[in-house]
Amino acid sequence: MSEMIFLAWVRGMGLNIAIGIFLLGTIWRLIEIYTLGRKQDVAAPRHRSGASGWHTMFRRSLPIPGIMQRSPVSYIGGYIFHIGLAIVVFLFAPHIKLIQSLVGLSWPGLPSQLIDAATVVTLAAMLVMLFDRINKPVKRFLSTFEDYFTWALTFLPVLTGYMAVKHLALPYATMLAIHILSVELLLIVLPFSKLFHAITVFGSRWYNGDINGRRGVPV
């Protein structure tokens, strides 16, 4: 199979399959989780401004003093990696073009040199977080195969994308195809793994804020 055909496959059928499974899995899992419902709370609520599900949904992204000092790598590494990933995924022109073809929305991108910088920073942050997961007793204790597997699945797209743009290792069309393939793997695994937190984080934070907000506690 020539590299152009491989590339055409991952851009075509491969993407078709991956997005299909992603949609299928996401919808199924969302229904599976949230239709469990919850019992109505009949205790008289205590109203307090700033204490609600919506508030927590956003506020929980802010650093918590004391906790950040105890686990700076988790916090700072987490911020850098997520923000860096968001920049690279959503502000790189070819990616924006792809999103536009899928959902019709588009927005201006960043110059590719800034994207390069964000990519390198993201890769570094992810490596640091991997070492931290291995070295920190709590994280090592909690971690399973899934944690390392999903780390690799998230790391590879960033790495291979960078390698493609920089013409490292393999010929460009092959590197690009591998990059797209790695994204497709990520999409397929996402709904069925802890990566699904990308979507359920909003629901979880909302529930937390609501449960505590009803008692008048802003979390």
């Binding site: 199924w28 899992r29 599976e32 989780i33 949230y34 239709t35 469990l36 419902g37 919850r38 019992k39 709370d41 009949v42 205790a43 008289a44 205590r46 307090r48 927590t56 949904m57 929980r60 992204s61 918590i64 004391g66 906790i67 105890r70 686990s71 988790s74 916090y75 987490g78 997961r133 920190k136 007793p137 709590v138 994280k139 090592r140 204790f141 909690l142 971690s143 399973t144 944690d147 069925f192 802890k194 699904f196 937190h197 359920t200 984080v201 629901g203 979880s204 934070r205 909302w206 529930y207 937390n208 804020g209 449960i211 505590n212 008692r215 008048g216 506690v217 802003p218 979390v219």
Partner: protein, 420 residues
Amino acid sequence: MSASLQKGINALKEVIDAPVASFFASCVHCGLCAEACLFFTETDDPKYTPIHKLEPLRRVYSQEYTLLGRLGKMLGLSKPVTDDELENWSELVYDSCTMCGRCSLVCPVGNDIVYMVRKLREGMAVSGHAPDGIRSAAKRTIEIGSPMGVKWPAVQHVIKDQETATGLTIPIDQPGVDIMVLLSSMEVMNYPEYLGALAKIFHKAGISWTLSSEAFEATNAGIQIGASDLAREIVSRIVVAAEKLGVKKVLSPECGHAYMAIRWEGPNLMGRPFKFEVVHVLELLDELRRAGKLKMKDKFTMPVTLHDPCQIVRRGGVLDAPEPLLQQVVTDYRPVADRNIWNWCCGGGGGASAIHEPDAEALRFKVFQIKKRQIEDAGVTTMVTFCANCRIVMEEAIDHYGMNTQLLGLTELLAEHLED
């Protein structure tokens, strides 16, 4: 002896809901919950990581309520929750978790971990894996009416003493009054001055009140052990008595879990809202303070700091009342660094203080070190709080460490300095 694993698993199946599912789906094993839990920070033992305490619940959720989990179970690929595992988990769910809720505040993906611990206890209880100490407390509460076995005659004794000490009458079983007062056995046995303090304050403020001889106990061992049916039986005694007397409000005492039990879990256990309002004693006092009906004749002049009981402040929502009340009666208040909803647990809540195994007690003393540091950093020898269980737990620990810190109850402190 009819506890069984099957009953336990069934109980878990009953209580798993969308929040539980969402929380387990969101956990990314970041370990930040451990950094918020004093049982980890003071021992450095990763097994005390809060989310890890929920492992049996997670597997039941996965195997019972997810398509892939069910498939895995059908194909024999999943690890079932066993009796032995639940026995091993007893230490994690009871001895080293006071349901203080600090973990729920720090989880970046928003997991309310304490919410889930409460649910896991439902399964632990009926599979026979709750600690002996809490079991006995539950037994005494159901059979006698109090976790410490305190009966009405003992309360009458305290009433008599306090009437003598204050020169006031303490009303009993009075219908139609403003407030029905609840007590915790801990207060009755160890801090009876609390009752006298209330009598003084109510007399001054002109509030009509009563005790009920059928329902004086505020605490609810059913909630602590995690058996909602038992919790319902216990709380219904209060609800029935209060509604029979037709009181406007029921006053929750200086006891953490009692407030959670009657204010927040109670109506849901009964399945309906109450016909009366539940108010925490500090909320009432703060109302009086704001109405100018709580004037002090003098103040406590030594430097003090404040311990915010978890179940009243962080989990109960009584955020604004304590500090202004304290500042009303002291001249030198030095807050701890992690105050209000961020305070650290005394280590004895959630039934933990009822566990008298040497290992559990040693653990409680170990984790008290964070409170010790807080007191030392505040540079005080007096700590004020408003939960009788916190008081007794911390007094024991202070003794253990040979500290010269005194622990005062806020209501008593107010009453002591109240204008005559």
